[in-house]
Structure formats: C-alpha cells, structure tokens
Point group: C2
Chain length 334, copies 2
Amino acid sequence: MSSIRDVAKLAGVSVSTVSRVLGGSQKVGKETRRRVEQAIETIGYQPNLLAQGLRSKRGSLIGLVVPEIRQEIFSSFVEYIGDEVRARGYSLITGNTHGQPEIEDEFIESLVRRHVDGIIFSRVSDRSRALGILEKDGIPTVIIDRYLDNEDIPTIVMDNYGAGALAAEHLVGLGHRRFAVITGLQNIALCRERQRGFAEYIERCGLALPHHNVYEGNFKLESGIEAAESFLEHGIDFTAIWAENDLMALGAMNTLIRAGRKVPQDISIMGMDDIISAKIMIPSLTTIRQPFAAMCSKAVELLFGMINGEECGERRVSLPASLIVRESTARCAT
Amino acid sequence: MSSIRDVAKLAGVSVSTVSRVLGGSQKVGKETRRRVEQAIETIGYQPNLLAQGLRSKRGSLIGLVVPEIRQEIFSSFVEYIGDEVRARGYSLITGNTHGQPEIEDEFIESLVRRHVDGIIFSRVSDRSRALGILEKDGIPTVIIDRYLDNEDIPTIVMDNYGAGALAAEHLVGLGHRRFAVITGLQNIALCRERQRGFAEYIERCGLALPHHNVYEGNFKLESGIEAAESFLEHGIDFTAIWAENDLMALGAMNTLIRAGRKVPQDISIMGMDDIISAKIMIPSLTTIRQPFAAMCSKAVELLFGMINGEECGERRVSLPASLIVRESTARCAT
DNA sequence: CTGAAAGCGCTAACAC
DNA sequence: GTGTTAGCGCTTTCAG
C-alpha cells in the first residue's frame, strides 16, 4: 500500500502539498496541483482512512443501530441510510441488537471507541440506556422510529398516534363497531402511541375497546398467530382486527382463515408497514404505509447537519402515515 | 475522551506497560497489572480503535458486501455474520451494491482504504471485477453464495445443482411431467447451476424442459408475476412450476390463482429459500431451504482462520439443501 | 519486568 | 503557495 510520502516524492513536492491537493479546498498552484494529481494517478494512491480519521477526527464512518435487521422495516433502513451515506462518501457500520439493551450498549460503546462521525439509532425499548454514553462523548446522534418521549435528541418518527387513528377511521368508516387489536411490546413508546390513537378515535365515536380485545404481541409472525388463537379460544367478539404491524396481521389472518373465517366477509383485518408480503397475500392486506424512505433521508440530513456543526433546529420530526386499502377489509356485514 | 497516557499517569507506569496490560498476553508484574487495571477502571478508559488499527494493522473491522440487503436472504447474512463477528469483538461494515458492479467496486475500494481485517462478499454477477483489487492488497476474503467458478478464493455455497435436482425429484415424484421454470439472472452462476440441476434431472427421467417454458427473472416479486403472465399469455403447457427463489414463486402463484387456476389442484408451485412469506401464504409454499446460518458461520470461521494466518485448506465448501414440503405442491391430476 | 523512543499515515499550524 | 514540524493514540523494538 502506497502512502502520501510516495506521492510527494514522485511529484517532487512535500507531503503537506499532497495533503492540500487531497483536501481540495486549500490553495495550491495550478501546475503543482496537476503534477500531484498525475502522481496520485500513476501510483494509484488512496489515502489511508484510519490515519485520516485518527488525525482529523473525521473517520467518514456512520453507525446504524437497529433492533432486528431481518425485519423488513429495518433492512430498509439499512438500505436507505446506507445509500445516502455512501453518496456522501461515508461508510456504514451496522449493529443488530436483537432487542437486547446489553447488546445495544455494547454497539454504542464500540462506535464511540471507533470515533464514528455520527450515529443513527433505533432503540430497543424504554429500557435502553445507551444514550447516556453518547451524550457525554458528544457524538452527533439522531433517533429514528423507536424513540422515547422525554429526550432532547433529534428524533425522526412517523406520527404513530395519527396512524392508529387512521386505522380506526378506516374501520369505523366501514361500519365496524367491535374491534380487536394486536399491539407490539408495551414497553416500546410507539406501540403505546399507536394503540392510544386507535382507542381514542373509536372512543370519540362512542365505541369502546375492551381490555380482552387487546393482545400484546412482539412484532413477530408467531405472536400474530398466537393472538388470533387466543381471541378464538376466548370467544372474543369482534368484526375487525388491527395489528400494529403487517407480520402480526398476516399471522392472525392466516390463523383465522384456517379456522374457517372468511376475510374480509366475516372479519376485516388490517396491518401496518406495507411489507412485500402484504401485497402478495390472498386476500391482499389493507395496511398503513410508513414513509421510511423519507424518514431515513431526513435522519441523514439532520445527522450531517450536526456533523457539520450546524445547530439542529428541529428536535422532533413527525411524518404522516398513509392508508393503503386492499382486499382484507370490507364493509361490516352485521 | 481519555487516552492511554492518562491511565499511565494515574497508575504511575509508562504507556508501554499499559499497552501490555491491554494486549493481555505479554508479561507484566502481578501488582503492576492490578494497578493498571484499577486505573483503567476508575478512568473508564477504552482504547481508541483508530489508533490501534493504524499502528497494529488490525482494525477489528470486517466488511460484508451483498447485492440487495432488503432481500430476506441477504439481511439474514447481515444478521448471522454480524452476530458471529460481534462475538469475536469485531464490527461489521455493510455494503449494498444494488446489483451494480460499479458500486461493488466502490465498496471494496473503501474497505481496502479502511484496512479492514477481512471481507465477506456476495458478488453481483459474473460481471463483478472487484476481486482483482482485493487480491493485490492481500486482504483475507471469502465469497459466500454468489460465486464464480474459475476462482481460487475460498467460497461457501449451497449445492445449487443439487437443489435444482431436488426440486425436480420432488415434482417428478408427484407425477408431474410438464414443467415451467422461473430462473434468476443468467449471468449469475448459481442460477445457471440450479437450472442445470433441474433440467438434467428431468432429462434423466426421459422428460424435457422446452425453451419456452423457461422464463428469466431477476429474483424480485415482479418478475415472478411477469413470468406467470407470460406463461398464461403464450398458452404454455405445464402442471408444475419451479422458481429459483420464493419471491418469484409467490408472485407467480398469486397471478395464477387470480387467473382462476387452483394451486395445487391445477398447478403445483415450488420455490426456494424458505422466506417467511412462504409459510404464511395460503396455500403455503413448498420450497427448498438453504442452510444460511451454517453458511454464514462457516464463512466467518474460514475468514478468521485466514486473518490469523492459517493456511486455508478448504477452497470450496458446498452445503446441502433440504426440501420443505408444504401445500402448494400435490400429485399431478392429469 | 519495565521505560524510552520511534513511527503507523496523515493533517494543520507555523514559517518562509 | 509551499515546506517543515509536531503530533493524533497507540504498539513495538530496544535497552536496561
């Protein structure tokens, strides 16, 4: 691997001149610059990012920490954020916490030790504590998707309360009056928000969501299946289900159909996220689409603003959800 | 951020002694070691990985480059490999090439500049050229999943030829004699292998796979839909379809069902990969499961062997596929 | 067993 | 404009 010295020698200049050419912005004589560029070209020189990072405190590295990378929503974060970061000449270190605060801490710590330029972070749950580490090290951080209410860190979320209300509005609009809801983990703030949005909307319509009609899942397929089994077993009375993500909705739908229920004739089902499976299912799944691409690009924009020392005005960006009506919901028959 | 000097000062020793304690293996007096550890503890010192990397040429970093991270198989690579790498105290830089050789080159180059300790690589296609860069820089590399035949780099794959034959065997065993196949891109070696395995098996049974019954897709849902539409439109005659991945199989199944065909009564369909959607579909999808976890752990094992300077004996590891029979395939009626 | 000193490859004052 | 020099924080000879 060639170093800046080799270039300097070949071009007949000092290393600092080469460094200036590399930096771009500094003043270098026209002819000198040409010679240096020539030398860089013939040697095929590429600056060592470790050395650059150590010296200048800018490692061209961004960390992304998510709870479960195999879930489509988080792998889409990796895709979108990865693309934006690459376009800016940075690399992306990804951390998959498996929903465990201990692993989360471990990742954040290693990112700090590596002096990454910034971190985008989708926390495990309210139990996350990693942010303390970050604050004292002053690494620019933005939270995406999984947030906590009482924090001062720039946060990009979808309007989860509004999404819950949107789901309720769609179902009530179809004439449904008895609902079941499959939530995510209650120690995740956005799950509580979604549920609150849904419940408060139907209350405003003079309807209620009984305790027994709410099942706490964990965003995985299996918990959607378990929810439906549980509803069936306990003879819960409802004509429409909303699940706080598509995977659980699909699990529930599958179980219900196999139990002989017709969807949407007997029961309407809707989910949230708009994953690929929602589209190819028969019946296709009515859902609420999250603006993931926009969230990611906003997060990156904010993060780079902070990296470049701008004061970050927006503390809390909340993007709207949109309703995607498909086949799994229909007018209430009863 | 505290440095090794702060620790040395507090412990009343030289920086080199602290460094020795950090390294672990070197000889340090028992009492001295205790004092140093004590100091590290009270300061909360963590070595700077950039500096360590620059000096020792070991950055505790692994690069993972994949064609499309949102596809479940690749996000599972990120999960499995990420876990294994983390267990060894390394971090993972991920690169998503979107199937473009240019982006692939860009990633490999930036990994080289960052002096990562090793790279795990799932190439775009036969058009990939990035390996040249790697070889000359001597960074340990292992190929996973997407390989090329004529290379000397350690490669971990599933037995794609065998998988094709396994699919054919299952279908022929059910009495099918007229097939359609939806392949991945033909410039990806493993796609050709899968198809060859399938075609040669049915030929051995005295059956044939006409040209018109093969549709070249691109592993995406849409191409499965297009394939089915094309088969329908051209009146292609078959009783069973095999698609080289589940997403395309699901797209085709959806299209066929909506066109009035009964699956599996009229047409049997099978896929490959065993993604989550395959399970929740109605009918659930018969498929071929790839041993992704085993492939990833083998890849990491080999890679770290190379990083630690062991001569890598295994040049080509080929793991077997397994058949998962579900509802979408049945005995041929005609 | 421990310390002093050199230097990984680069940037950023500081001089000229 | 360009060169000289001093480190960034760490590991690793080389002495002692």
